[in-house]
Symmetry: C4
Amino acid sequence: MQPVGHTKWAIAEGYIPAYSNGPEPQFTSHETVCILNAGDADAHVEITIFYSDKEPVGPYKETVPARRTKHIRFNNLKDPEPIPLDTDFASVIESDVPIVVQHTRLDSRQAENALLSTIAYASN
Amino acid sequence: MQPVGHTKWAIAEGYIPAYSNGPEPQFTSHETVCILNAGDADAHVEITIFYSDKEPVGPYKETVPARRTKHIRFNNLKDPEPIPLDTDFASVIESDVPIVVQHTRLDSRQAENALLSTIAYASN
Amino acid sequence: MQPVGHTKWAIAEGYIPAYSNGPEPQFTSHETVCILNAGDADAHVEITIFYSDKEPVGPYKETVPARRTKHIRFNNLKDPEPIPLDTDFASVIESDVPIVVQHTRLDSRQAENALLSTIAYASN
Amino acid sequence: MQPVGHTKWAIAEGYIPAYSNGPEPQFTSHETVCILNAGDADAHVEITIFYSDKEPVGPYKETVPARRTKHIRFNNLKDPEPIPLDTDFASVIESDVPIVVQHTRLDSRQAENALLSTIAYASN
């Protein structure tokens, strides 16, 4: 398939709740960046995390193989450093080939989970 | 009415919860692609499903008649094969005439349902 | 302020739950189209409703005055006819001046409410 | 990093629930505008609030420093005046440098919270 999407995306909202309810890992509170690489070349993706009170951290490097999707939990980013819980952040996602990016959160701090999702901002 | 929309769309997030609570079919956990064909020609739509660990599957073929909307549950796609539950996926939606695509999930795994929705990514 | 937005928008998702829990009118299950008219001329808005199994109905006519927002519940549209409950629909929103359109649902069928929202599709 | 985004954004939906459940401040019902300034110059941001029945109020002035994100609760805007609770509003966000804007609500009026989020409308 022809590649679909843009090579630079941004998500202004980011927040990993500090605790969870329910069976893991499905009900662990999480903030996810969903990436689709519909094209025939692997996507080398770099994620930069922005904070309210300190310099950006990154890049976090991920590969999304050709014709694959990868749903990455911000909770699981480790290198160069984990993202602190209960802290506002934002992210910029850059790729060497076009990708599509969507942002989802599952918040299970209370007995019943809550969900949000939005297409990310596609930069020109 | 003049046709509205694009002919190629993408949804990077996809996940059908493995179980549900509440009366069926309204409260069955579901992942939906909502398609609007505002124009005067039938839309022949092809959906391709992308996974994290295997080649894409499809096309799943759907017709959205002229001046109609169709809200398709990914749960109900059968041909060429059903989408497995509790599995990350993404989708590309292609049509021979302009359509508008929106993505919605109702998650009823817990006693109280949760909802998410977003406009899909409109490809140029 | 200069006008902001587009003159034609579409929302592919639409569904008014058939029942509700909690105090009215805040917790009545509702599907809302939020319109912002930031400019200095009144917006004459026409909403057309699309169904899965019958011809479109409309236009429903609304005026959003200059420099005002109007959050219209689809539940409250009466002329030419109410939108049936528990029925899939979609909508196209047209205006004579630029507006911004966002779609929100509050679903209170269960004891705890659920929310979704997305920017609508801005047509060129 | 190069600046990302647009200099004018709009959010047609706005509503601060009148009450809350759960520990403050995380579970206080809130309506948030999340702003990312990825570039190397501070962003001087002006927010104008639109109502259904009176003239717009503003600008509310905020600075988002270079390479920072700021998640602003509409609840906390004070100057020129607080936004009333349980009231429909909308907003236009203007900046002197490109920013990215996302809208999120946490509604904790009931025992279990509900979430919504969407990218804002990027004006040309």
